[in-house]
């Protein structure tokens, strides 16, 4: 904890990741941290929702009930969003983008439920960025072939190839840092608020929660999915 904050008299400001359980693997000391715990809670919520949705869709009726309506709304919204950006490539990536959207959204919103948002850990967002990077590279080689990739690298002038490589590698880093920093800034703000103004924090922080957790989280989810779709589409169409 920084000394500057300690000086102002509050020592219950806490937004760091804590270790819960230590274990050893291949001579390395590893930790199960609060991020893992929150991640498993988020995953449990999503899995329970998916099981219920599966049951509801299997017993689908002509006139949908309340829960079936919600499931259909979610799926249709995601499908139309993906179709709007990717066009004819949408069917192949609807699964991945939909999963990504729901996971990041629930993770960001979990700050509302008192968890430390799992996306405020760079390990989580960087993994998401790496998956996107793998998809981009794979599709580039699949659709543009090796000649197309080399042509893309030597864009305008062959000596610019190193700069183009840096530009490609920067994609997952900037994607993941954007999500991470946004969620982290919300987490830090709320921690500072509760730590420093805890004695008058009744009721009104709810408005800030709506902004930092709901609004910012939803926007960043949308942006992450949008950019992923745009990059993959560019890789396919060259």
């Amino acid at each position: 904890m920084g000394a500057g904050i300690l000086l102002s008299g509050a020592d219950d400001i806490d937004f760091m990741i804590h270790g819960v359980f230590q274990y050893e693997l291949f001579g390395q000391k590893l930790w199960i941290t609060t991020t893992h715990v929150c991640l498993f809670i988020v995953m449990a919520i999503i899995i329970i929702f998916c099981l219920c949705a599966n049951r509801a869709v299997k017993r689908a009726t002509e006139i949908p009930g309340a829960f079936q309506n919600v499931v259909e709304l979610v799926v249709e919204m995601l499908d139309s969003m993906i179709k709007g950006v990717m066009g004819k490539n949408a069917t192949a990536f609807a699964n991945y983008i939909g999963t990504l959207f729901i996971f990041i959204l629930i993770s960001n919103i979990s700050g509302l439920m008192g968890l430390r948002a799992p996306t405020a850990d760079y390990g989580v967002t960087f993994a998401l960025g790496l998956i996107t990077f793998t998809l981009i590279t794979f599709n580039k080689f699949k659709y543009q072939k090796v000649s197309g990739v080399i042509k893309g690298l030597c864009d305008t002038w062959p000596n610019w190839a190193p700069i183009n490589v840096i530009g490609d590698v920067a994609v997952p880093i900037s994607l993941s840092l954007r999500l991470f920093a946004n969620v982290l800034s919300g987490t830090v703000m709320m921690a500072l608020l509760y730590g420093l103004l805890g004695f008058i924090a009744t009721g009104w922080p709810a408005a800030l929660h709506v902004y930092f957790d709901l609004f910012s989280g939803a926007i960043q989810t949308y942006v992450f999915c949008m950019l992923t779709m745009t990059y993959i589409n560019n890789a396919i169409e060259g």
Partner: protein, 84 residues
Amino acid sequence: MEFNSNFILGCSAIGAGLAVIAGIGPGVGQGIAAGHAAAAVGRNPGAKSDVTSTMLLGQAVAETTGLYGLLVAMLLLFVKPLVP
């Protein structure tokens, strides 16, 4: 020359404050984007939802550089890489 860790921590705090000045750029950029979006909606109110989603996407991307500054400030204050 020897510096004690309090001096380095103080300098880190100054550096963190300077790093957060990076927030000026995204502020100006997002303001320009919002202003143009408002003008676009005024000219063509039917396209409001399209304009809004495009504006939010562009703003979120423009926000990144400011967040890099925030990250540097966070690292300096809480991870304290320079303090021995």
